[in-house]
């Protein structure tokens, strides 16, 4: 929204998820819970009451046995750039500036202690990436002992969501500063917990504006697409798949329309 302070290097962090590689194992989800002090309850099967910063969906091509195919789709917060780079659907609606678009990183922030729980952002987000704390979080037995001091546990009545592990960016920036070159944050210095956790290497994360980072090239792939791209939300999360049905399942198309990667071809 605002102009960048002149001393800050502009980055645009993004993620590329290879759907032809994701095995649906949910390591990313669990690593995320653990990294970000996500709360849990004994009843988590009602998914619309369950807090997940990244959620792996299972989608099928709808064909009968044995031509059935399955694709797993991990979906974190899309960290949308939104309209005019800086107006994601959720940010402009938050009445109390509890969520904001961070221009220097392209990350959509969330301040739970500022949030008063109106849930307008939740209604605005087409990805259901925003989760509400319907209950007071409780860590049974001695589980409070494993909580990380990097991410504050949220209280009841507020929204939370994926922050691209922003605390890890802060840590990387701090370390870079101590090393004397505050702007020199390498690709490996800042990786999200889910990226690191993906045991099959389906997730790639980095600065999408930096040619040295893998995401820079990956997102330019012909088979790259974004979830519900046509809504104009400009997500910072890209997906890769060579399968046309996957592209079709991830955005809305009128009957005669074709996903961009396959337009004009009969694949």
């Amino acid at each position: 929204m605002e102009k960048l302070p002149s001393h800050t290097k502009a980055r645009h962090f993004g993620m590329v998820i290879d759907l032809d590689k994701c095995t649906g194992c949910a390591s990313c989800m669990v690593a995320c819970y653990s990294e970000n002090n996500v709360s849990f309850r004994d009843e988590e099967s009602i998914k619309l009451l369950s807090i997940n910063w990244i959620q792996v969906y299972k989608i099928t091509n709808g064909k009968p046995f044995p031509d059935t195919e399955v694709c797993y789709l991990p979906q974190p917060c899309m960290q949308c750039d939104g309209k005019d780079f800086g107006h994601p659907p959720c940010v402009s609606v938050c009445p109390a500036v509890a969520t904001d678009f961070d221009t220097p990183t392209g990350i959509v922030s969330q301040i739970p202690v500022r949030c008063f729980g109106c849930r307008y952002c939740m209604a605005a987000c087409p990805y259901h990436a925003r989760k509400f704390n319907w209950w007071d979080p409780v860590w049974p037995a001695d589980m409070e002992r494993y909580l990380s001091p990097d991410v504050s546990p949220r209280m009841r009545g507020v929204i939370e969501k994926c922050t691209f592990c922003y605390h890890r960016f802060q840590r990387a920036r701090q370390q870079a500063y101590y090393k004397g070159d505050a702007e020199n944050i390498k690709e490996a210095d800042y990786q999200t917990a889910c990226t690191q956790a993906c045991p099959s290497g389906a997730i790639t994360f980095g600065d999408m504006d930096n040619p040295d980072h893998a995401v820079y090239t990956l997102k330019k792939s012909r088979y790259a697409f974004r979830l519900l791209e046509r809504l104009g939300t400009q997500p910072s999360v890209y997906y890769l798949s060579t399968r046309k049905w996957v592209h079709r399942a991830c955005d809305n198309y009128l009957e005669h329309e074709e996903p961009a990667a396959f337009a004009g071809k009969s694949a």
Binding site: L48, W134, L254
Partner: protein, 412 residues
């Protein structure tokens, strides 16, 4: 001679009967208070809302009562700014109704937020880009205005009138009522509109999203216009209901007819605009995002499909509008109030669609199912609460305040 607590020259029922009449309403209020306690103490897990239905029946009720309470601002606009004298005969009642609607809306909002104790962050940390901020500011200030408009009516109670300061105060406030009314109209225009903007700006939600003018989506104007159109009809209908309950004529028929005529034309223009908006949305806005019109009306688990649109636009839109703009329709009171009720239902359907159906519609093609929600008892009782609360406030106001200037004349 002791002064009667009742307005001069009118008859009121006995205290016993009055209390008996209020009893059921108090009972509802009591249960609602318990529900409110549960929601505030244990949190929103006491409702059936979920991450798909972040907005639910409360927000619908909010939008609906604010729109219906719009009768206050539009009658004020007519009476004080345009100078339609006849409307003054119903303006006091409209103000009371407005107070009921707006305080109810604020209570529901207070229930609906997850952290009510820091709800004031909406003012302190205001994000002026948010439609909700606009709503909160205008709504709160307008409620203030409504109360200011209500004060002189209260002060007209004979007992209060005996106090000289209040006597003068009510007189002076009446004198400059136009200033308050103008401010109210200004604020109402924005908050009614920004309530429409709330769904309209959601460009992630193709069912709600509308293009518009500057920062305001078309729903902004449609909501204001529909509130102005239907609000007075609601005032009139409630007034008629009061007449029915008190078994007294309180307002002359020509007042109703005038309101109905104005509302009829407003409603007609509104519904034409709404139709144009729907057509543009269905043929341009939604297809650009890959949605066919019927995508929004198929596979809905509530089974109403496209009928909800037909009900809103034709049965509860064009039909009452056409009845109200014809003189014959207005002269027949059954037709008039039938049409008014249809229009009120239409408005409620519109708000329902713009809140709940927006959230119910699946967005990701791989998630074909609609999201289903049914309110919990805590939500239902608190949503009914405004009715009980309205009964209490209006009954007390009617009993002790000269709401209807024509009452004395009509009931000699």
């Amino acid at each position: 001679m002791t002064t009667s607590a009742f307005p001069e020259g009118v008859k009121r029922c006995s205290s016993g009967k009055f209390i008996l009449w209020l009893l059921p309403a108090f009972l509802v209020l009591l249960i609602a208070a318990y529900a409110m306690f549960r929601v505030w103490f244990y949190g929103l897990n006491q409702t059936n809302m979920n991450d798909a239905y972040g907005f639910a029946i409360w927000i619908w009720a909010d939008l609906a009562v604010i729109a219906l309470g719009g009768g206050a601002f539009f009658s004020g606009f007519l009476a004080y700014l345009v100078g339609v004298k006849k409307v003054k005969n119903i303006i006091n009642f409209a103000v009371v109704l407005g107070v009921v609607c707006y305080t109810s809306a604020l209570i529901l909002l207070g229930l609906d937020v997850g952290q009510p104790l820091r709800g004031w962050f909406i003012f302190w940390h205001a994000n002026i880009h948010s439609m909700l901020t606009e709503v909160a500011f205008c709504l709160t200030i307008y409620l203030g205005v409504l109360i200011v408009e209500f004060i002189p009516v209260i002060l007209e109670n004979p007992k209060i009138q005996k106090i000289r300061f209040f006597h003068h105060l009510s007189h002076n406030m009446h004198e400059i009522m136009a200033v308050f009314a103008a401010t109210g109209v200004f604020l109402s225009f924005f908050h009614q509109g920004s309530l429409g903007g709330v769904p309209g700006v959601l460009y992630g939600r193709p069912f709600a999203f509308r293009e518009g003018l500057f920062i305001w989506p078309w729903t902004f104007f449609l909501f204001t216009w529909s509130a102005a159109a239907v609000g007075p009809l609601f005032t009139a209908t409630m007034c008629r209901l009061t007449e029915f309950i008190t078994q007294k004529k309180l307002v002359k028929d020509d007042v109703y007819e005038l309101l109905a005529k104005i509302s009829g034309w407003m409603l007609l223009t509104y519904i034409i605009a709404k139709s144009l908006d729907t057509i543009y949305w269905a043929t341009v806005t939604a297809p650009a995002r890959g949605f066919a019109f019927m995508d929004f009306y198929s596979n809905n688990p509530a089974y109403y499909g496209v009928w909800i649109l037909i009900a809103e636009i034709v049965i509860c839109g064009f039909l009452p509008a056409l009845i109200l703009i014809t003189q014959k329709g207005r002269e027949n009171k059954k037709l008039l109030f039938g049409a008014a009720i249809l229009a009120i239902i239409g408005l409620c359907i519109n708000r329902w669609v713009m809140v709940l159906q927006v959230l119910a519609a699946p967005l990701k093609p791989f998630q074909e199912e609609w999201f289903v929600y049914s309110p919990a008892w805590t939500e239902v009782i608190t949503t009914i609460m405004p009715i009980a609360y309205g009964i209490v406030l209006i009954s007390i106001a009617y009993r002790y305040l000269p709401l209807f200037p024509q009452e004395k004349e009509l009931n000699p």
